[in-house]
């Protein structure tokens, strides 16, 4: 067996010493809870922690017997389909605007980023007031145009859309990432295009968007994962209602685990959500070869 030299040995020891705290945290706080939750998902464990092994019964119940899980998944997918494309378009557009040499640029950058830094619960409650069907500011503003606003959070056809709008308000982080991506595009490309007479729109279509695709892809993946885990707004504002129209999978898991004490069942649904997210992310990863252009490709 080959013996390590003194330097290599020291480097190896240093390597393990430096990653040990993270590794410990990862194993204890991530891997172990995941394995434990998988074990729980195969049991009928209740609040009191006692449960028997029941195989895949929780999974079968979730997807063949109980309709509310399917409703939660349907709502979550709907939210992802509405929120993620809107947030991508909006964050790209705002990122592009902020990359321009305009006056008060610093001010606008702060304006768009501040909502992201604001405490989520406070923002949610504020939006709840804005969306109030009776005395909310949004319906009040609509009344100036002779429009009768809906009961945003109290109507099952608008409740989820309201949450999408609410969350679009705080896409500052996506905007900032997009801005960094756009600013990373060499200026010379735009100068050449201008000399060739390309319009601003043409520059966006032919230069900015293609060269921003790695950033768009990153925002897409992060956005999809985050959107699948939607919890705060439905929990605080609608508690999943009206009539389960904002019941998301995360809220469903929380309710079953911590309100109904169905730890095993909630764990099974949590694993189903994990697999759903993983499937979508794998699909996105497979698709990126066709539309994401890296600098070296």
């Amino acid at each position: 067996m080959k013996r390590l030299t003194g330097l290599k040995k020291r480097n190896t020891i240093n390597f393990y010493a430096f990653i040990a705290p993270w590794l410990f945290g990862f194993l204890v706080l991530t891997v172990y809870p995941m394995l434990e939750s998988f074990r729980l998902s195969l049991t009928n464990t209740g609040f009191a922690g006692d449960g028997d092994y029941i195989g895949f019964q929780n999974f079968i119940q979730a997807f063949t017997i109980e309709t509310s899980v399917l409703i939660a998944f349907k709502n979550t997918f709907l939210y992802v389909l509405m929120f993620v494309p809107c947030s991508l378009v909006l964050s790209f557009f705002l990122g592009w605007l902020l990359s321009r040499q305009i006056r008060f640029l610093g001010f606008f950058r702060s304006v768009f980023y501040i909502p992201y830094l604001t405490a989520g619960v406070a923002v949610t409650i504020m939006w709840g007031w804005l969306f109030n069907g009776t005395f909310g500011l949004i319906n009040y503003a609509l009344s100036f145009f002779g429009l009768q606003g809906p009961n945003w959070l109290g109507d099952k056809s608008t409740a989820l859309i309201s949450i999408v709008i609410m969350n679009l308000w705080s896409i500052g982080n996506g905007v900032l990432i997009m801005l960094a991506g756009i600013q990373d595009i060499p200026r010379s490309y735009f100068e050449s295009a201008e000399i060739d007479g390309a319009s601003t729109w043409r520059q966006i279509i032919s230069i900015t968007i293609p060269l921003s695709t790695p950033t768009i892809y990153f925002n897409l993946v992060i956005g999809v994962i985050g959107a699948f885990q939607l919890f705060n707004q439905p929990y605080i504002l609608t508690n999943g209602g009206p009539v389960d129209s904002t019941m998301t999978v995360s809220l469903f898991i929380f309710r079953n685990a911590f309100e109904y004490g169905k730890m095993g069942y909630a764990s099974a649904v949590a694993w189903a959500l994990f697999f759903a997210i993983m499937a979508v992310v794998l699909l996105l990863q497979a698709s990126q070869r066709k539309w994401v252009f890296y600098g070296d490709s």
Binding site: A48, G49, G128, G241, E259, G261
Partner: protein, 436 residues
Amino acid sequence: MIKKFLSMLLATVMLMSLVTIVTAEEALSGKLTIWAWGADAEAEQREAIIQAFIKAHPELEVEYSIIPTADSVWDQKATAALTSGSGPDLIQMSPDYFGMNTKYYLDLRPYVERDGIDLDAVLVPGMINGYYDTDGKLEGFPMHANIFMMAINKDMFDEAGVAYPEQGWTLDNMLDWGKAFVGGEGAGKTYAMAKHWVMNAAMPYAGGSAPYSDDLSECYMNTPEIEKSLELYQKLILEGYMPNDAESRTIPSAILFQSGLCAMYPLGGFEAAQFLADSKENGINVGLVPMPMGIGNDGKEINVIYATGWAITTTAKNPDAAWAFMKENAFANEEMGKATAIAGMPAGKDVAENYYAKIEYEGFGTTFNDYMVQHLDLSHINPWGGTLASTGDIWANMVEAVTMDGKSPAEAMATYSQQAMDEFASYGFSTAIKAN
């Protein structure tokens, strides 16, 4: 020789054990560990109760923790401790929140029998309700309870020329006179009654029945009375007597009342002091009237009990000291009883009637607390607490279906009542009852 020595030793040990058992009630010793939940006034109350016990029992070493309930901190800690067998001797529990129907608590009936306690004589009527498991086991012992009384805006009533409600009024007859309070637009919209969060728990009783039998053996979520409750709830919201769910989530119901926008507010015992002070500060002329009765008058009010008590864990190392604490808190230690009154009606009849009921709120005398004591037995334990929360959420869906989704009560019943019945059946209460 050794044999003789060992037999002497054994006899001594047995004798000492006997002495310990005989004197357990009189002389407590050792360490007692206590876990309680709570924040603000509740935490202050628990602290005062425990300190009063420590003062009465200097011979005991008492170690205690008061843990917040926010973010499920209590649920997680208590569940983990009970599951792993590392819980305290004495743990807080509630028949409507956390802890019922578990295997982690001692049956208290032998203690009650041993001490010859006549529960009806020492506890406020209705106080022990809900602490018995479906198998007859007494899982916990009460500390305090709170119910509701209706606060009214007297000026709104006077301006509308409506008489103040009196004992026996129902929500059904409120549909007549309550119309006088419904009006306005936007920020000036007024209502007859605030949609307090307790309404979802109270309304199943409005139709004159209950969502399930007292002994949990039968579920009544498919009965005409429940449909009647839904019909009433629908009218109250769709016709503007109450704000709908989305509106009441964004404007807290207390603020609605204190802004002069609704004529009535179901006032809980746990919030009375602050609510009455805030209302006064906002210039609201508050009056206090009884809670409504169910249609058909089943003798009970549309009123809900939120109760809190204690349990001895099966792993308790000092169950006798834990029992002494529970007993003294409930009725046998006046100072502990008075400390309990900080955040609710004490369980003991004597301290509830002679101390708590005499606590005055400025401008109201003893009306509020006196009502709490007198009407507890006319109220129902929160029907959707703890284990039953999942059926409660199905009821919430039924309510939303008729109040926010344009469904008729009959359609909501057709869609959800069987679901509620199945969910209730899944708890296995009736199986447990039959087995015993």
